[in-house]
């Protein structure tokens, strides 16, 4: 069984941070909250999301699994005005999700979870560098790099102790340095990896500018980006595999 009431903002934030990578996903309806894990078709970008029961106005679940079409569910959540509450209830008989927004009732057909891409194994990475910064700085870095290139290098200079962003275009280059003073915190370590902006731009869309984002980086290793939403009761971790830098 699953029955929950949640604010439109919280639900939308959760869905948006997954839909930047996949169109369909499985949602685990655990007793202590919702959990979603998904990887893009090329197995390059991954999202791991949890939304605690405390983030809901009310929440009851007993460990079910449903499959949803994310854009459909986002559209429905978009029908709610800011501050409105959305009630979700799983009809076990019909395997449909009953959604209520005030007087509006929507019955959403669910997708067979078995037909959805398998949930990824999460790489167990011990990354040497950790950068904590504001969402708006991630935003600015991605935007600057996107002006000149379709790739972005992220790294930490462990001697000079700063975090940097490099982007090389055919003609123009972008370089951005953020020292510990510009950041919330910095744990230096050898780190330099190249990433595709196609993915990073999408992930960046889901990062609120006023939130605290933790980046974990290594040498030619995936990046982990972690941030909270719904007043810290929701957590998102993105993981993105690097590009080989030899070219």
């Amino acid at each position: 069984m699953f029955k929950a009431i949640v604010s439109a903002e919280t639900l939308s934030s959760a869905l948006d941070s997954v839909s930047v990578l996949v169109d369909e996903c499985k949602i685990h309806l655990e007793e202590e909250g919702l959990a979603i894990r998904a990887v893009d078709p090329a197995n390059v970008g991954m999202v791991d999301l949890s939304l605690d029961a405390a983030a809901f106005e009310s929440y009851e679940a007993d460990g079910g699994l449903i499959g949803v079409d994310l854009s459909r569910l986002e559209d429905i959540a978009g029908m709610a005005e800011s501050g409105q509450l959305i009630q979700l209830e799983l009809d076990e008989e019909t395997r449909k999700l009953q959604i209520q927004i005030d007087g509006l009732e929507y019955t959403l057909a669910l997708i067979d979870p078995d037909s959805i891409r398998q949930e990824p194994d999460i790489p167990d990475l011990d990354l040497p560098a950790e950068v904590v910064l504001e969402g708006k700085d991630v935003n600015r870095s991605v935007k600057a790099a996107d002006m000149v290139s379709d790739h972005i290098a992220l790294g930490v200079d462990d001697a000079e102790e700063y975090f940097y962003v490099d982007a090389e275009g055919d003609t123009d280059d972008v370089h951005l340095e953020l020292t510990e003073a510009d950041l919330i915190s910095l744990q230096v370590g050898p780190a330099h990896s190249l990433f595709s902006l196609d993915y990073l731009k999408d992930m960046n869309k889901a990062i609120p500018s006023d939130t605290e984002v933790t980046l974990e980086l290594g040498e030619e290793f995936p990046i982990k980006m972690h941030f909270g939403f719904a007043e810290g009761q929701g957590q998102v971790t993105y993981m993105l595999a690097p590009r080989i830098q030899s070219d």
Partner: protein
């Protein structure tokens, strides 16, 4: 099978010029395909899905360029790919010219580490996902999926992946080569493979059945409701051909419509397929309604849909096409142009395949299915040229295209353009003949002149070469009567002598030597094509021209 192994074989085949050597390559490819036999048998022809399946990848060139660009590395754009294509001229070569794999996958960082080489199966499954993607954002998803594949490709793999995706495989493997290779690889006779292909339209399935179940399995393959088979085709021919070839000729009207194959299961689905085996069910609700309302048995029927006006008269072919291509607002389109089906062949009734049965038997089954004649194309059996002419005239008068001539004993051979079905050949040559006589008609045509006597010039005199009575509508007869009546010289009963004044353009099948007419020649199956208002009798064709046409 690894996709790299497939790409290697495809490369070898492409480099091969001799058909026999190609068949040998395909044979060993199929023999080595293991679990991927069905997919490999299609991939080698550049197909992802079986021929009967209407599923398409729906990947435009631009989507493919974007995926290649993204996999190709830093700062390569779809425009760059397109530019290179303009230089190189072929997408496979473009894809092979890039160095893919710059983007690593997350799998490489998990325990046990991913990084597996791309398999034929993975390519196929990803392309199935790709085909299923629809709705908003689906083009992005297609790019993502394709990128994921290209990113794992070597140059050679990329070459054939790009071609496969854009349906430009072109390595010289035709249907016949795969048929022969299936026969050779699994030691079954080619003609039985051919038969199995005709009923199933599925090279992958046939290859798998040949391998798993051998000849017995192949022979047991039947038509299946919902899986279209290729339409039997006609070639051009003449009444003379038909009468010479067959004791009796089956004659049908040739409808000016679009070919459809109806698959109707009263307890299941009704699907309508075009001549190219495209699913056009949604565009043609009238055909589905016809089947639901009238057919109680599971059947596969072959026919045409014709567009009709409010009076039920046929409209030109273009009107049908407008309905055929319609994907949206079918109800609105239906208000503008109504279509109706006319069936002329029956391939399957209630579990029984009729492909091997003679045409006359198949048509008899069709008649019993459509007992009240609605939606049934009539079939006449005759050896009388005049009767054939009369049927042709009625067809033309009814606004149809003409007639079909069929061998009454022939089987239904899907996809074959054989001499068992003839569409009456349009006239090769026409003659401008002077009208020198006519007859008053009978019945409702009593007030019209008809059966016009045709003559050609021989110096200052005119010699007859035939009579034309057919292919003329009542409306035209009225006009011709008005045109000719002032030139009546004498009248004897129904027969009228006319002053040479009016010139007809006349088509015919051939010229024969004949004592019947004063010219010594007769036009065989003459047809009225029109009045040459621009010509005087003095400008009409001469006996000399008729003679030279006869002598060829």
């Amino acid at each position: 099978m690894k996709f790299a192994a497939f790409a290697d074989r495809a490369g070898e085949i492409e480099a091969e010029a001799s058909d026999l050597a190609i068949v040998d390559h395909v044979t060993s490819l199929l023999a080595d395909a293991n679990d991927d036999l069905e997919v490999v048998a299609r991939f080698v022809q550049g197909r992802v899905f079986p021929a009967w399946d209407s599923t398409t990848l729906d990947v435009g060139p631009r989507t493919c360029y974007e995926a290649i660009a993204r996999a190709a590395g830093r700062n390569v754009s779809a425009d760059d790919v397109e530019e290179r294509l303009a230089e190189v001229g072929e997408i496979g070569a473009v894809a092979a010219s890039y160095d893919f794999g710059g983007q690593r996958g997350l799998g490489a960082f998990t325990e046990g580490g991913g990084g597996e080489d791309l398999s034929v199966r993975e390519v196929y499954e990803t392309l199935v996902d790709l085909a299923e993607a629809d709705g908003s954002g689906s083009q992005d998803r297609k790019v993502d999926l394709l990128f994921g594949l290209f990113n794992r490709c070597s140059s050679e793999e990329a070459r054939y992946l790009a071609r496969l995706v854009l349906s430009e495989m072109r390595i010289g493997v035709g249907e016949g080569a795969v048929r022969d290779a299936v026969a050779a690889a699994f030691d079954v006779p080619e003609d039985r493979v051919e038969r199995a292909l005709q009923v199933s339209n599925d090279y992958g399935r046939v290859a798998a059945v040949a391998r798993e179940e051998g000849l017995e399995g192949l022979d047991a393959m039947d038509l299946e409701l919902g899986r279209p088979v290729k339409a039997m085709l006609a070639q051009a021919g003449t009444v003379t051909d038909a009468l010479e070839e067959w004791d009796e000729t089956a004659v049908e009207w040739k409808y000016d419509g679009a070919r459809v194959q109806l698959h109707h299961d009263p307890d299941g689905e009704t699907r309508v397929f075009s001549r190219n085996m495209e699913d056009v069910t949604d565009a043609l609700p009238e055909v589905v309604e016809f089947a639901d309302g009238r057919l109680e048995d599971p059947v596969i029927l072959d026919g045409e849909v014709v567009a009709i006006d409010d009076a039920g008269d046929p409209l030109p072919f273009q009107e049908v096409l407008r309905r055929f291509r319609r994907k949206h607002d079918v109800a609105k389109a239906r208000e503008d142009v109504t279509v109706r089906p006319v069936f002329f062949d029956c391939l399957h009734v209630a579990g029984e395949d009729l492909l091997e049965a003679p045409l006359t038997d198949r048509h008899a089954r069709l008649e019993s299915l459509l007992a009240d004649g609605e939606g049934l194309s009539t079939l006449w059996l005759t050896d009388d040229p005049d009767e054939i002419e009369a049927i042709d005239a009625d067809a033309l008068e009814g606004g149809h295209e003409g007639i079909m001539l069929k061998n009454p004993d022939s089987a239904y051979s899907p996809g074959r353009r054989g001499k068992n079905w003839l569409k009456r050949k349009p006239d090769v040559e026409t003659l401008d003949c002077v009208v020198t006589g006519a007859e008053w008609g009978e019945g409702r045509r009593a007030t019209y002149l008809g059966t016009f006597e045709l003559s050609v010039r021989d110096g200052e005199t005119f010699e007859t070469v035939g009579k034309v009575a057919t292919g003329i509508t009542d409306e035209t007869l009225a006009d011709l009567t008005e045109l000719l009546e002032p030139h009546v010289l004498t009248q004897d009963g129904q027969e009228v002598d006319l002053e040479p004044a009016v010139v007809f353009e006349v088509g015919y099948e051939e010229i024969q030597a004949s004592p019947t007419y004063s010219a010594g020649y007769a036009l065989r199956f003459p047809r009225f094509l029109g009045v040459r208002h621009d010509k005087e009798p003095a400008d009409a064709d001469t006996l000399e021209r008729v003679r030279s046409l006869y002598e060829g």
